[in-house]
Subunit: 225 residues, 2 copies
């Protein structure tokens, strides 16, 4: 039983605020990514030395995973479960995108989403971390899809709608906003993107749906430029 976070009251007490140190580490990982954040930066931001970090969190990887957990629970990131609880799928997704636009452009905080950008490249050494973040993202995709499927059964949208495609569409927007935020996009711009994505709701959930033939001009012209 490792005493990473258990406080038995025995021995010398911890001299730093574990939660505060974790929050500091989260910001570093958020800004630099998992591999880009060095132990030196982490320990300096957390105000502790490496042995304290390892005694309290176990390893860099475990610290990162705790930071991601904190990110997904605190208000730093958008609230995905609210998407499921919202009275309508449309309202839930709209709220998700709005909250993302706000969360990705907080003053004094890194831009974009820790879960979307934290570890995109599998370099071998970070395979486990990379896969875990991927699981977060695919889990979010499943949440979106299930909410849309429920909307289809409840009559909010037609049953002909391709829920998987619409879910991928909105998740793509949410991920794309992270990169736009990294590139300096303003909160107003991200909110405009969110609004545009919701303006598209009517088109995506129309009875003929995305499987319709409403793109005659687009992809048939694939001849030479």
């Amino acid at each position: 039983m490792k005493p990473h976070d258990t406080r038995t009251g025995r021995g010398r007490p911890r001299a730093f605020d574990r939660a505060a140190a974790l929050a500091k580490a989260m910001d570093v990982f958020w800004a630099k990514g998992y591999e880009g954040a060095s132990l030196a930066e982490l320990t300096e931001a957390m105000g502790i030395n490496p042995p304290s970090l390892y005694a309290a969190f176990g390893s860099k990887e475990a610290l990162f995973l705790e930071a991601v957990q904190l990110y997904s629970v605190r208000e730093d990131g958008p609230d995905w479960d609210a998407v499921l609880e919202a009275p309508s799928a449309r309202a839930g997704i709209a709220r998700l995108l709005d909250e993302s636009a706000v969360a990705f452009t907080r003053r004094g905080k890194p831009r974009g989403c820790l879960i979307a950008l934290g570890a995109l490249h599998d370099t071998g050494a970070n395979a486990s971390v990379c896969a875990k973040l991927r699981a977060y993202r695919t889990g979010n995709l499943a949440k979106l899809r299930r909410r849309l499927e429920r909307a289809a059964t409840e009559g909010e949208i037609p049953r002909t709608v391709d829920c998987d495609a619409v879910a991928s569409f909105y998740l793509s927007i949410q991920h794309g906003m992270s990169i736009l935020a990294r590139d300096g996009a303003s909160r107003a711009t991200l909110l405009a993107v969110a609004r545009a994505a919701m303006d598209a709701w009517a088109c995506l959930t129309s009875p003929r749906g995305p499987e319709g033939d409403a793109r005659s001009e687009a992809s048939t012209k694939r001849g030479p430029v």
Copy 2:
């Protein structure tokens, strides 16, 4: 005058194919990112030793920038200039998204976009590379916006359309597709996302446009969950 690529015919000739080695390096950077790709991996994939790499390309950073240049020129990535040349903005953007969906899911190639994912985190050491990739992306955003503005002046879309918002919307989709591809999305899924984004064209470029009041349900319900 550094002889990185100039061939004067003097001295011992190069024993490897510079272009082929660059293509191999591009694949490594594409898969691992700039910082995630180590010299050991690069030299092994290129089939050369470090001194040959530095004699031919100058540095890891210069090699990466050449790889990015190659990526943006060859068919590996989508053709952004075709967006400008297409007869209509809608057809150009549709083609861009379709080509992206295909390019991000090529068999035997890394998933997603090198320019979108290659160096998202500024860790200090890679600041220059990070800024250069960002310049690529913001340049693409400008290309999209200018094409939409031209469409507005030519009557393809109403003048009331917020071209900057629509451009950010479609670039967000294109960036988001890279992350979806990284997470294992199939080519069919990405093509469905592209199609959904183009289905939204009518909504985004309707006379009332994205600034309309067509989201009464979405954001007014921001009360407690």
